[in-house]
């Protein structure tokens, strides 16, 4: 025994020699636990298993770590066919002490025999089913059939014998009840329930025997109301014989009647016993099928959910990639721009004099679609080509624009001159003529913007002076 405070081994003293705490009461609790264990052991030895359970549980209430008491309690449960209770006690026991504990051996032995374990579990399930039959108003016969199966599978299950005895008593059959209760008594000699049912079965048997004796006595003394003239009665040794006089004549009709009665009985048994069992079995099958279908349905629902999720992910990815592609290949996107730039480069390399064609391709390149990711080499090539043909293209477009202006074709002139300014912003004539065209064509906003640009690019020149004059005129008009 160890001290509850410090864990040191206790001596015969009423205090701990290590930490000094008072252990008198603690020792007493341990002693009470051991006393109950001894009592439980004595009861178990004489097969008073119910009594042993009470004592051992008491022992554990005082000291839950009384391993011997717990292991013995498990054994007693096992002996009474209560496998689950037994296993529970042994599992707790091995948790409290995992070394040098016989409970581990018990568990291993039980678990190593799979068939036995399966039978025991099956017997418990069948017992529970029989118990449910007992609760039904007309389920006693089925309960008897089921309980007999239980006993075949688990011949030590005391509660099955007791329930079977009770059902037999309730159906007025004390003889089989007594037989099964005696078997229960062989396992657990002092169960109050078994003894009570046995007493009842004995009482019923006595009552039946007394009834038979009275009936026989009445017949022997002639004190009977059965004065049927069609029978002969006599005493042979100790037996009272009643013989019908016209037995031979009635034998044929009696046989037919017996056959009819037998058939009726057969139908009745089929209807009341076999049919409910068949219906129950069919219901069980149907329920199992429903369960299986539900399981399959759950699995399919899960698969559908997963597929939907995957589909959604793929759709998101497609959308993302599509967005990226659109960013590259929009109406004036980078892909088209790149293609135009490559063509411009190609044409320029093959014939630098063909600068107008190069210019068309260059103007197809959309500078506004450029992003941070746009390659520097790409930009460099663009500017290199633009600068290389810039002056020539500007001159050519300026000439065309000037001709159109002179012919008062202002829209054409604006298109040519915008192209000219695009390629060479430093050409003052081109930009000034463009501003003039805007003004003449009454595109005032564009005209004012262009005049402002002239003032910015060519300050203190004739062009800027003219630009200022026209801007002043616009200001006066606004006022």
């Amino acid at each position: 025994m160890r001290c509850y405070n410090c864990g040191a081994e206790l001596s015969e003293h009423s205090f701990c020699t290590n930490c000094g705490v008072d252990v008198a009461l603690y020792k007493r609790i341990m002693r009470i636990s051991n006393t109950f264990y001894n009592e439980g052991l004595e009861k178990a030895k004489v097969r008073d298993l119910s009594g042993a359970i009470v004592s051992l549980r008491q022992s554990l209430k005082f000291n839950k770590s009384n391993i011997k008491a717990r292991n013995l309690l498990g054994l007693v449960y096992y002996e009474m066919g209560e496998v689950v209770a037994a296993l529970s006690e042994w599992v707790i026991s091995t948790n409290l002490r995992n070394k040098k504990n016989v409970a581990a051996d018990y568990i291993e032995r039980l678990q190593s025999n799979g068939t036995k374990m399966e039978n025991l579990n099956s017997s418990i399930k069948k017992y529970n089913q029989a118990y449910q039959y007992c609760l039904q108003p007309d389920g006693k016969d089925l309960a008897i059939v089921q309980l007999k199966r239980v006993i075949n599978l688990n011949p030590k299950l005391v509660r099955a014998y007791q329930l079977l005895g009770l059902v037999y008593i309730a159906t007025g059959r004390p003889e089989p009840a007594k037989n099964y209760l005696l078997k229960a008594k062989e396992i657990d000699v002092n169960s109050t329930l078994t003894l009570k049912y046995l007493q009842e079965a004995d009482r019923m048997i006595e009552a039946l025997n007394a009834g038979k004796k009275t009936s026989l006595k009445d017949k022997l003394t002639g004190n009977t109301q059965d004065n049927n003239p069609g029978v002969t009665k006599y005493v042979d040794d100790n037996e009272y014989v009643i013989q019908p006089i016209q037995m031979k004549d009635k034998r044929g009709s009696g046989t037919v009647l017996n056959i009819i009665l037998g058939m009726a009985l057969g139908f009745a048994i089929t209807f009341f016993l076999v049919r409910p069992a068949i219906i129950q079995a069919a219901n069980d099958d149907a329920q199992e099928k429903i369960n299986n279908i539900n399981l399959q349905l759950d699995a399919k629902n899960l698969t559908i959910t997963e597929l939907e999720k995957a589909n959604s992910e793929y759709e998101d990815r497609i959308k993302s990639m599509s967005d990226s592609l659109n960013a590259y290949a929009g109406t004036e996107g980078t892909l088209a721009s790149m293609e135009s730039l490559l063509k411009a480069a190609s044409v320029y390399l093959s014939n630098p004099e063909n600068y107008l064609e190069v210019a068309d391709y260059i103007r197809s390149v959309d500078e506004t679609a450029w992003t941070e990711d746009t390659s520097e080499n790409y930009k460099n090539l663009y500017y290199a080509l633009k600068n290389a043909i810039g002056v020539s293209v500007c001159d050519a477009y300026y000439a065309e624009g000037n001709t159109a202006y002179n012919n008062k074709q202002y829209d054409d002139a604006i298109a040519y001159l915008e192209a000219a300014v695009f390629f060479d912003e430093t050409d003052a004539d081109a930009i000034y003529l463009l501003a003039t065209c805007y003004r003449v064509a009454e595109k005032d906003t564009e005209a004012q913007d262009t005049y402002n640009k002239i003032i910015e690019l060519f300050p203190n020149t004739w062009y800027s002076g003219r630009a200022e004059t026209y801007l002043a005129e616009y200001s006066d008009t606004d006022d």
């Binding site: 603690y26 209430k61 000291n63 496998v83 449910q132 009770l166």
Partner: protein
């Protein structure tokens, strides 16, 4: 005289093997020794 309806109430469904885990976890393992030790420690705390 035994009354079946009264007697059947004394019986109950048996625990199945699948219930072992719950049975173990739901067992109240507090014993008198635990109560005693707690009582002593509570007194010391005061």
């Amino acid at each position: 005289m035994i009354n079946f309806e009264d007697e059947i109430k004394k019986f109950s469904p048996s625990l199945e093997v699948e219930d072992i885990e719950d049975t173990i976890y739901n067992q109240d393992l507090t014993d008198v020794a635990d109560l005693f030790v707690k009582m002593i420690k509570d007194n010391q705390g005061d």
